[in-house]
């Protein structure tokens, strides 16, 4: 009788406290919940770059993909572009592809930006913002690292330094 009561009480308290603990945990982490989860397959997309070439993510299986979301108006994006460009040159022959996705700006603005910064890697424009929606992009710049298996390895928001870019690209080398 007594024992049963203790078991009952323990069970009820455990359930209650687990619920409370989960709620608090979820509340702490509510800002870290992302659309695209680490370890999951990156959503496929297809966009056309400024030279008219089509880039479909799934075509790059077997290569790492350094996927950068940016805007011409965004200062930190502008700052990291040369670093990405440098490292692109280093890694492009080691199986790491770089794609920069501009969020819905005009061709003119993007072209002028590419000219100004001498960017060599493919730049695509997400005109309908559906790639942005699929990846749940918030503030720019945002960078996804996708490994040769097509899985998301890392999600980073904020400016990158050149060593970081290098480190990131090393991580997804096949």
């Amino acid at each position: 009788m007594k024992k049963r009561r203790l078991v009952m009480r323990t069970a009820i308290l455990v359930i209650l406290f687990a619920a409370v603990a989960y709620t608090l945990y979820a509340n702490f982490n509510k800002d870290n919940v992302h659309k695209v989860q680490i370890g999951k397959e990156a959503p496929d997309f297809v966009l056309v770059d400024m030279d008219g070439k089509e880039h479909q993510l799934s075509d790059y299986k077997g290569q790492g993909v350094f996927l950068n979301f940016w805007g011409t108006w965004c200062k930190p994006c502008e700052k990291e572009m040369p670093f990405i460009n440098n490292q692109y040159e280093q890694f492009k022959d080691q199986g790491v592809q770089t794609i920069a996705v501009n969020i819905s700006e005009s061709n003119l603005a993007v072209n002028k930006f590419i000219e100004r910064h001498g960017m060599n890697f493919p730049v695509v424009i997400d005109k309908n913002e559906d790639v942005k929606a699929a990846y749940g992009i918030g503030p720019l710049p945002a960078t996804f690292l996708i490994n040769p298996e097509g899985e998301v390895v890392k999600y980073h928001t904020g400016t990158l330094t050149e060593p970081m870019v290098k480190d990131f690209m090393t991580q997804i080398k096949p």
Partner: protein
């Protein structure tokens, strides 16, 4: 085994019982000295009070206490009040930085408020913990009380112990020479008229009604717990979506969080205000006094569903689902989603027109219209005149180095750097043109870009909402209302009539509304020869009054 208490009547009660569950005899010595018994929970053993050995029992007992529950309520109440002193962070202007805003607006008090985290009080861990503790307290308090109460009410005997009846608030003993069965029958009829359930044993009567109202509090607590569970589920991924969608007139965009399945087209945004000539005359003064009063915010939209299996970035194949006039209070619902008219921006510039003009003669060599969302690289006119767009700044400002930059991709304040070609100037003349501003960086030009006009469009902001917790919250709220009404609008009433020798003992109890019970008793015993019970608490207060 815990000690159990065996009553004289033979009933075995759980340890800690104050009044025998069956006959009502007072089992605890100190209670015997009291004039009236405490009828809360029928004098049953609140189990929590009786087992207090392990840590589990201690935690259990802590939450089982009503005192703790009420304390939690009062703390929550006070904390909630603090949160309204200054606006919460979500209500300060979105462009403001909270760390400076509170100090700026409210001085030292604001700074303290911000530092203590009160600007985000309702989502703070400690506030959530308070609410959660109330939830835990609800569960344990209810469990701890409802079981013994149920037992006590189920096991109650008809012929209650004399000591129990004497200590009821409404009580009186009538000594009768002979008992007339007629008047007893009459009383029973009247009790039945008043919808009492009557149980009879050994010539004693227990009339009872609305016992179900005693379960009201526990039912409303169940409702509250379901409501809290609903609130908790909000944090489970996929249950809740809260997105803001800015959409220009003429634009078709994907609706976020629909996995690229649904698209929305904005045909037109409409803002109407009340005009006193057109409205009800009664409004005239109010409109005159208040100036403009908004009448309608509306976005005319088409909802599309993607029919093909396209991947992101591909041109979607869209199939129209419906056209809808989306207004405040009239959200557009589809599947688990709803779109709400939330905000708007009027007159965002979409196109600008210029004419390539000779500054001296004002002769025009051609007109061009720039689509601010997709400007061309070059605009060519006849006779060797053309304009190249060297740079475009949709949301122009000068940065710290006095370089023109753009703050965003939204054409709030467009500016351009043009290179104007003419037969006289085959290498081009450079001109920087912003609204109300022209700069010629390389000296005096012969040509200028004369401003010809703008085209504007409205932008509508819609909230994209999915909330799968709503049905759970609704059920919780409904159960709460049922429970609270059941407990508040019905009263559990009992009348005991016991024959003991030549005496008839009458006692009455209700959990509330004694006035109503007394009126019923007056009606029932009227003309029966049995004196109606008197309110013993009146006697006590009156006695006290005299002593003072």
């Amino acid at each position: 085994m815990m000690k159990q208490v065996k009553c004289e009547c033979g009933h075995v009660n759980p340890h800690g019982t104050v009044l025998c569950e069956s006959c009502g005899r007072v089992l605890v010595e100190e209670e015997k000295s009291k004039k009236l018994v405490d009828m809360r929970y029928e004098g049953s053993a609140r189990r929590s009070q009786t087992y207090n050995k392990t840590i589990i029992d201690k935690i259990w007992n802590f939450f089982s206490s009503v005192k703790v529950g009420v304390t939690l309520i009062i703390i929550t109440l006070a904390a909630s009040a603090i949160g309204t002193i200054f606006p919460q962070e979500m209500y300060i202007p979105p462009t403001e930085n909270a760390s400076v805003y509170y100090e700026d607006q409210y001085g030292f008090a604001g700074e303290v408020y911000y530092t203590l985290g009160f600007h985000n009080l309702y989502s703070s861990w400690w506030y959530l913990l308070l609410i959660a503790s109330i939830g835990v307290s609800l569960v344990i308090c209810s469990l701890d009380r409802v079981v013994p109460l149920y037992r006590a009410l189920k096991k109650q005997r008809v012929d209650r112990h004399e000591g129990f009846l004497k200590r009821q608030r409404l009580y009186r003993a009538t000594t009768l020479a002979s008992i007339e069965e007629d008047s007893f029958e009459n009383i029973k009829v009247k009790l039945k008229e008043k919808r009492y359930n009557i149980r009879e044993e050994n010539g004693s009567i227990l009339a009872e009604k609305n016992r179900f109202s005693r379960w009201g509090p526990y039912i409303n607590h169940i409702g509250l717990i379901i409501f809290l569970i609903g609130g908790m589920l909000r944090f489970v991924p996929g249950m809740y979506v809260d997105e803001l969608l800015w959409i220009r007139e003429g634009e078709t965009v994907v609706i976020p969080e629909t996995k690229g399945e649904y698209y929305l087209e904005n045909h037109e945004f409409i803002l109407e205000t009340y005009e006193k000539e057109k409205e009800n005359e009664a409004f005239t003064t109010a409109i005159e006094n208040n100036g403009t009063v908004a009448k309608n915010f509306q976005t005319n939209v088409s909802l599309y569903k993607e029919s093909g299996e396209t991947i992101a970035g591909q041109e979607p194949e869209l199939e129209k689902v419906e056209d809808y006039e989306l207004r405040v209070n009239e959200p557009l619902k589809f599947e688990q989603f709803a779109l709400y008219q939330q905000s708007y921006k009027l007159g965002e510039i979409s196109e600008m027109s210029f004419a390539l003009t000779n500054k001296e003669t004002n002769e025009e060599f051609g007109q061009m219209t720039i689509d601010l969302h997709n400007p061309q690289d070059e605009y060519t006119f006849e006779n060797g005149y053309s304009v190249e767009l060297m740079s475009y700044f949709p949301d122009f400002e000068f940065d710290e180095n006095s370089e023109p930059v753009t703050k965003s991709r939204v054409p709030n304040n467009p500016a351009f750097i043009f290179k104007m070609f003419s037969p006289e100037h085959p290498d081009g003349e450079v001109s920087f043109v912003a609204i109300q501003q022209t700069i010629e960086p390389y000296g005096d030009n012969d040509l200028k870009m004369a401003f010809k006009g703008v085209d504007t469009q409205n932008v509508s902001a819609l909230t994209v909402r999915k909330d799968l917790t709503l049905p759970i919250l609704a059920i919780g709220g409904l159960i709460f209302m049922i429970g609270v009404v059941q407990g508040a609008y019905w009263n559990h009433r009992r009348i005991w009539i016991r024959r003991l020798g030549d005496q008839v003992l009458v006692a009455g109890h209700t959990n509330k509304n004694w006035h109503g019970l007394k009126r019923e008793i007056t009606h029932v015993f009227d003309g029966s020869g049995i004196q109606e019970p008197i309110d013993q608490s009146d006697e006590i207060t009156n006695k006290k009054g005299k002593e003072e």
